[in-house]
């Protein structure tokens, strides 16, 4: 048995769904890590197509979310994860009413088929399958204040991790299959007219790279994340409203920290910040988050490896 780092996952909640699984950290068998994260994300500029602008009729658009998430080690090499956020949106100017409610539940299986130590370095490979689905009937066609995009998403991610001493690099790429969404209009215009209430959602490719320091007590990392909508989307035209099937791209930079208490090693705190450096049909958001996790050990022999 390889040594599996006992740790809660370090969050990179770039999008509040389906992003909790993309670190190279596994829960060991029969351990359950559960916690809660609060996130505040806001923007006052956005890209209308490729044109960056402000909108005085929205002011600052903010999204707050509080999520409950957990990670259970079925085996040392197979984890199951869940995440369910409650989201609240608001626009500081104009008349549009913010929304709140439960957003999407995501369930993830994370599997590490390969881990090998060569000299001083550890190489590991992960496959991550995730599924997310809306858990309330929130209004989708209400961007930018809707709680989410309403699509059922299945994603498959391949991730590689390299650790040497206490320094590491993780690289991963995912393909996200997104289901059609149903909106409350029966006709809509994208770049052509559609006489249906169903909207074809373009798929997404997400690339994520991390580098940093990782020990049993402290993890600190820098992140670059690129979210690229595949063909089938379209741009917001000037002074038009956004639409769920817009091409939404975002290149983000961020940092995450996780600290496990020395006296209470079952308790860990996390925090982080990220921002969008470039995008298309998305807000240039600044995102802060923080949370706490607690590990429950279901092993009879509760000694930590």
């Amino acid at each position: 048995m390889k040594k599996v780092i006992l740790s809660c996952f370090l969050l990179g909640t770039f999008y509040s769904n389906a992003q909790t699984e993309i670190d190279a950290i596994m829960m060991s068998k029969n351990r359950f890590c559960v916690g809660s994260v609060y996130q505040y994300s806001s923007w006052d500029k956005y890209w209308e197509g490729t044109n960056k602008r402000e909108n005085l009729n929205l002011g600052t658009v903010s999204t707050q979310s509080i999520g409950v998430m957990g990670n259970y080690g079925i085996t040392d090499k197979l984890n199951v994860l869940f995440n369910i956020p409650y989201v609240k949106t608001n626009a500081s100017a104009g008349t549009m009413k913010g929304q709140e409610g439960f957003q999407d539940l995501s369930l993830t299986l994370k599997y590490m088929p390969f881990e090998k130590k060569i000299k001083n370095a550890t190489y590991s490979l992960y496959t991550i399958g995730s599924y997310s689905t809306p858990v309330s009937n929130y209004t989708v066609d209400y961007l930018p204040l809707s709680l989410g995009l309403g699509s059922k998403v299945a994603s498959f991610r391949l991730m590689g991790d390299y650790q040497r001493g206490e320094f590491f690099t993780t690289l991963s790429g995912a393909y996200l299959f997104r289901s059609n969404v149903t909106i409350e209009r029966n006709t809509y215009f994208t770049d052509e007219m559609h006489y249906t209430n169903e909207v074809d959602m373009p798929d997404v490719i997400s690339i994520n790279a991390r580098i940093g320091y990782r020990s049993n007590r402290l993890i600190a990392e820098a992140i670059v994340d690129n979210w690229v909508t595949q063909s089938g989307g379209f741009d917001i035209t000037q002074n038009n409203m956004p639409f769920p099937s817009n091409t939404m791209n975002a290149l983000r930079l961020g940092t995450n920290i996780k600290y496990t208490l020395k006296k209470v090693p079952k308790l860990a705190f996390i925090g982080g910040y990220n921002y969008v450096v470039d995008g298309r049909n998305v807000g240039q958001s600044n995102t802060f988050y923080g949370g706490a996790f607690y590990v429950i050990n279901f092993n009879k022999n509760s000694e930590t490896k």
Partner: protein, 518 residues
């Protein structure tokens, strides 16, 4: 053992992903792809005697006598059809499939697309003023037009009215010259669409294409290439399908163009071009309302946007005289200082705070705001889907669309007249704590445009299809209520708007009873 489990997990994961991929690639079926080919139960062969909207007589514009079907030149035209059919491509088959549903219907859809595409308010200048789209310089920023609801209502009305007059003329000449269809002349000629018993000169589709293209060039000048492409497809469809020979089509285009010119001349002098107003007028509207000690309307947009088309109420109607417009004007709204007003405002405040999913659905369904075909477009879509099942002839399609759209243009005229006569504030202006679930339109509240459009459409459509009257009424009421639920209109706006729409609708219905089609 462990490896086996791992393999199983891997396979399961893969299977889930593949299954999901498959389920996501399900094609979406769109309603307008399901329409059947036009095959009228009654070809309305006497429609050449129906009363036109603007033409003085069906033969106001002359049409040449067609060449005889016995001449070699005609045979060569038949040969053109055969040569197309011998080498027909999939793309051509798709064109036939698209257009054979009906020319009036397809042009109406195209117009809805153009309206939706251009229904975007101009973006502000750096100094906080707004540029005004100009028909004289349509490609400048902002592009012309901004097809907001009044603009759209008028556009739908002009195109529909011109199409109707053009169809009457077409039916007149069909009967006059009585040229048989190519498949009657040459019984061996295959026909790819349902055979019409009408004479084929001029081609009704070509007349439609001719008249519509010219009007759309005026109304959506930046779209001429797209419009022309559609017209070329429609002409080709008639020839390839064996419904018309080329001389039927050429004659139709020429007739359609002449009729269009008469409507274009009217459009350029109907007052719509001046409806934007100017700073002096915008200021005057505010001061004259303030002088009555009422609260004048103020734009809720940043930067402050001038009110939408304040002089649209002065646009020349097809059916109503300026005196009719004034006589139809709703009673004054409750004073902003009255108890009644406070009560209505409180009701809207309550709607703004309810989180009813049902209300939100209704608000969104009927919003028809920026980037959509507008409320008149929504009613065109509703009408089209209802008409499809009635198996109308092209001329009846055109007539019913014309009456519907003229009624909605009159709704726009009378509603805008009321809005700027009373210049009443929106609920969120009176109580800034009122948040809305749809955009706040940039014009005064009283009376509700949605309500006026919907009641006018309801009156006309219920007259055409009495069996659906109840259903149409439900929709119209819901469209009106959506503005309450969205917290952008008071109850008086909606109730009096419905009443106004009903009044306006009676003009079109009266006309329908006397135009010779019923």
């Amino acid at each position: 053992m462990k490896n086996n489990i791992q393999k199983k997990i891997c396979k399961t994961l893969l299977a889930i992903v593949l299954a999901f991929t498959y389920s996501c690639t399900n094609d979406i079926t769109e309603r307008n792809d399901q329409f059947p080919q036009l095959n009228p139960t009654n070809v309305d062969d006497l429609a050449g005697t129906w009363k036109p909207i603007l033409l003085t007589a069906p033969d106001e514009f002359p049409l040449d006598v067609p060449i005889a079907t016995t001449l070699p030149a005609y045979t060569r035209e038949i040969n053109e059809i055969k040569s197309y059919q011998a080498n027909i491509t999939e793309e051509q088959k798709a064109i036939i499939g698209y257009w054979s549903v009906g020319g009036v219907l397809r042009w109406n859809e195209i117009m809805r697309t153009l309206v939706a595409k251009h229904n975007r308010p101009p973006y502000q200048n750096p100094d906080g003023t707004y540029p005004i789209p100009s028909g004289a310089n349509p490609f400048a920023n902002p592009e012309f037009p901004f097809s907001n609801p009044p603009y759209a209502a008028r556009a739908y009305a002009y195109v529909s009215a011109a199409q109707y007059d053009a169809m009457i003329a077409a039916w007149h000449y069909k009967k006059l010259y009585n040229r048989p269809a190519p498949f009657v002349v040459d019984a061996a000629l295959p026909v790819l669409i349902p055979k019409s018993t009408l004479p084929s000169y001029p081609s009704e589709d070509a007349v439609l294409a001719g008249v519509t293209v010219e009007l759309l060039k005026l109304l959506f000048p930046t779209e001429i290439a797209f419009i022309q492409e559609k017209a070329d497809e429609e002409k080709l469809y008639r020839i390839i399908s064996g419904a018309n020979v080329r001389s039927d089509v050429d004659a139709g285009i020429s007739l359609g163009r002449k009729i269009a010119a008469k409507f274009i001349a009217r459009a350029s002098t109907d007052g719509a071009g001046a409806a934007v107003g100017n700073q002096a007028l915008w200021t005057q509207l505010e001061t004259q309302t303030a002088a009555t000690e009422e609260t004048p309307w103020k734009s809720q947009e940043f930067p402050t946007r001038p009110p939408m088309l304040p002089l649209f109420g002065k646009v020349k109607s097809f059916f109503m005289s300026p005196a009719d417009v004034v006589a139809s004007r709703p009673v004054p709204p409750p004073s902003t200082k009255s108890e009644q007003f406070a009560k209505e405002l409180a009701e809207i405040k309550a709607f703004s705070e309810d989180n009813s999913k049902k209300h939100q659905e209704i608000v969104t369904f009927w919003a028809d705001g920026v980037g959509t075909y507008t409320p008149p477009g929504h009613w065109n879509a509703i009408a089209s889907e209802a008409f499809v099942s009635q198996n109308y002839s092209e001329v009846r399609w055109a007539r019913n669309m014309a009456l519907l759209n003229i009624a909605m243009m009159d709704a726009a005229i009378t509603c805008w007249d009321a809005k700027y006569f009373y210049f009443n504030p929106r609920p969120c202006q009176m109580d800034p704590s009122i948040k809305t679930t749809t955009g706040v339109p940039n014009f005064p509240a009283y009376v509700s445009g949605h309500s006026t459009f919907s009641a006018a459409a309801c009156a006309v459509l219920s007259h055409f299809i009495p069996a659906k009257a109840e259903n149409i009424k439900t929709m119209s009421t819901e469209a009106s209520n959506s503005r309450l639920y969205g917290a952008i209109h008071y109850r008086s706006d909606c109730e009096k708007g419905l009443l106004l729409g009903e009044t306006v609708g009676t003009f079109a219905v009266a006309r329908a009873k006397t135009d010779g089609a019923e």
